[in-house]
């Protein structure tokens, strides 16, 4: 028979042995100590509870029948004292009856050990319960970590919501011509509803529906709101604003996250509504005179998907009569589900309009119908609804322009000079870097293509006709271009000290800004007085591209010996 003692493979434990018989205590202690554990003893139930409090043992061997307090009562008290901690109790008993043994476990024991004590079994049980105790401890710790993380996340969300509320303030959503439904938790479902008046009196509106939920959806809403309020207050037109927002979101949002949006410019003066829609379900235009509904569909991709080059800011325009209404919603309305799982859908929405008697009740009727459909499960934190009515501007009140939003109009009063000389002039293309500086002025960004064409033309004139002294006459005739570019290569190779300088001078004007571009080359110039009369002759490509430049600029002027050319481009914010 194997009489060797298996030493415990785990860290030493403290084991409480409670038995009223001295010989039992001595033998059990010897077995447990041989495992490498420490022993604490008690001779009755009361002492066992006291020892538990004092010594905090890991495992308890508890005799069932003891004076003063028996094992079962002691077990109940000890388990209570242990609380969340798992402290295994092994009853020591000479009982054989299954009922009695089961009663031991029912009273709170975790196991029992019958006499005569089998050393091997006792050791195995101690090891097994030690493992269980460690596992319980690990689980409790992990649960506490998870709980703390959860509280931390909740707190973060509260902070995010507070910041969001400051940025995406309701603007003029309380205007008399607007009715809206927006959950206070919209920041977490990705819905945004913004409204602001322009200096001209018109009203900008934006409904945004970000993909996803929670903080990732909310993140994009902040730069969007900042740009919307900032640029609207400064009188930018909605095409510029929506383009700017798209670029920002494209830069900021991760792949797969975008914002379905509808932006509206409501002009009271012109009694007109201008709409840009991307990625949203059809909206309705309600005609008060006839009660008819017109569909207005999205004609663009959502914001944040396309690059600036591919982005299309084309809007749809509709004339409105007084009392006409435009309805905007996130897809939370159409996709709202009943407790049975049915979709609300467009037909139900259309029937609300059809059954309506009083247009002023329409908004409430829609809200009521949707809430009724969704029922008690009320996931109405996903539905955003806006009704816009065309009214007389006199009934609107003066526009409170908020100029506190960020500096989104870029630099307006600046000057930059950039020259290329000698070898650098031969090899480096300065156009991208200069165009980049111009991009800081938002409206100039929308003229990016024209500006590039303009600067390319000015630069090529300055370099080829100015510095290299090539004549555009060379280009005439069937072999003209080949000959021209042959001469050009030769002249480039021979050039050592030429220079071209660009000066950009931008100033703010009452309604926008004015950009002056002056290009100076180191060449001999030309007799520009003579050519002014011929300016409008565009002989193929042989002129200095003057007509092209004129179409982009307000003015063009030659100075000096004809080696200096100045063009002026003016831009202004929308007055509609």
């Amino acid at each position: 028979m194997d009489t060797s003692v298996s030493a415990s493979a785990e860290a030493p434990l403290k084991i409480l042995i409670a038995d009223d018989n001295q010989t039992d205590r001595m033998i059990l202690s010897a077995i447990v100590k041989k495992m490498g554990h420490a022993v604490v003893t008690a001779e009755d139930g009361l002492v066992a509870v006291e020892q538990f409090k004092a010594e905090q043992p890991d495992i308890i061997l508890l005799d069932v029948m003891m004076p003063n307090m028996n094992g079962q009562d002691a077990a109940v008290q000890i388990k209570q004292l242990a609380g969340e901690d798992m402290v295994p109790i092994i009853f020591l008993t000479s009982l054989q009856d299954a009922q009695d043994l089961a009663a031991c476990l029912d009273s709170g024991g975790d196991d029992f050990l019958t006499k005569p004590y089998n050393k091997v079994i006792l050791q195995a049980k101690i090891n097994a319960f030690s493992r269980m105790r460690r596992m319980n401890s690990t689980l409790t710790k992990q649960r506490d970590v998870i709980r703390a993380n959860n509280e931390h996340l909740m707190h973060e969300q509260e902070v995010a919501k507070a910041v969001y509320d400051n940025v995406a303030h309701s603007g003029c959503l309380d205007s008399p011509n607007l009715k809206y439904m927006l959950s206070p938790f919209s920041v977490f479902n990705g819905d945004v509803l913004l409204a602001a008046r322009k200096p001209s009196g018109s009203m900008h509106l934006l409904l945004g529906d970000f993909t996803g939920h929670g903080l990732p959806a909310a993140i994009g809403a902040m730069p969007l709101a900042e740009i919307f309020y900032g640029m609207t207050a400064k009188g930018f037109n909605m095409a510029d604003i929506i383009r700017e927002i798209n670029m920002k979101l494209k830069n900021v949002l991760p792949v797969g996250i975008f914002c379905c949006a509808c932006m509206v410019n409501l002009s009271f003066r012109k009694q007109e509504i201008e709409v840009w829609m991307g990625g949203l379900p059809d909206y309705y235009l309600y005609r008060s005179k006839t009660g008819q509904l017109e569909n207005v569909a999205s004609s663009h991709l959502p914001l944040g998907v396309l690059s600036s080059h591919a982005f299309d800011a084309t809007t749809q325009k509709f004339k409105l009569d007084l009392g006409d209404k435009f309805y905007m919603w996130s897809d939370g309305i159409i996709e709202a589900r009943s407790p049975q799982g049915d979709l609300y859908g467009e037909p139900r929405l259309q029937s609300v309009f059809k059954n309506n008697q009083d247009p002023e009740q329409l908004f409430d009727e829609i809200v009521h119908d949707v809430n009724h459909f969704v029922g008690e499960s009320g996931k109405d934190d996903d539905t955003t609804l806006l009704e816009v009515t065309m009214i007389d501007e006199a009934n609107l009140g003066k526009a409170a322009i908020d100029l506190t939003s960020g500096a989104v109009n870029g630099p307006t009063d600046w000057r930059m000079a950039y020259s290329l000389r000698g070898d650098t002039l031969k090899t480096f293309n300065p156009l991208p870097v200069m165009l980049n500086i111009l991009h800081d002025v938002p409206t100039l960004r929308s003229k990016s293509g024209e500006l590039y064409t303009l600067m390319a033309e000015l630069f090529s004139n300055a370099l080829e006709h100015g510095v290299l002294g090539l004549s555009s006459e060379l280009k005439k005739g069937p072999d003209g271009f080949a000959r021209y570019y042959g001469e050009r290569s030769k002249a480039m190779a021979a050039m050592t000290e030429g220079s071209v300088e660009f000066v950009f001078d931008h100033r703010p004007t009452e309604k926008g800004g004015s950009l002056l571009i002056r290009v100076t080359d180191s060449g001999k110039g030309f007799d520009y007085q003579k050519n002014i009369d011929n300016q409008f002759k565009s002989e193929g490509y042989s002129g200095r591209g003057i007509p092209l430049i004129r179409s982009i600029c307000e003015s063009i002027e030659y100075k000096g010996d004809g080696n200096i050319v100045e063009v002026v481009i003016k831009w202004q914010t929308d007055i509609s």
Partner: protein, 109 residues
Amino acid sequence: MSHLNLDEINELKDIMEDGFGELVEAFIADSEEKLSALHDALAQGNATRVGELGHSLKGASGNICAAALADIYKQIEHAGRDQNLDGVADMVSQAEAVFQEVRVELQAL
């Protein structure tokens, strides 16, 4: 005739190591004390107490590998629990006699 199971005694010695002698001393002292109390309980007709003491002595005897002795105590325990003290006096005398023999054997180990 040996009252002790020598194989079990050897296992017990192995577990107790240097503490074996102490264990024997403890057993003897405990048994003497409880036997005396058993006499008293019997004289008072306290069957419940007789049962408790019988139970305790049974356990101790079993621990020390004296199975025959343990058996006698078991009978005393049951009689006490059954509240029937008839014939228990004889059992106690028998137990005392066997105990003395066991003691001698233990002290000779």
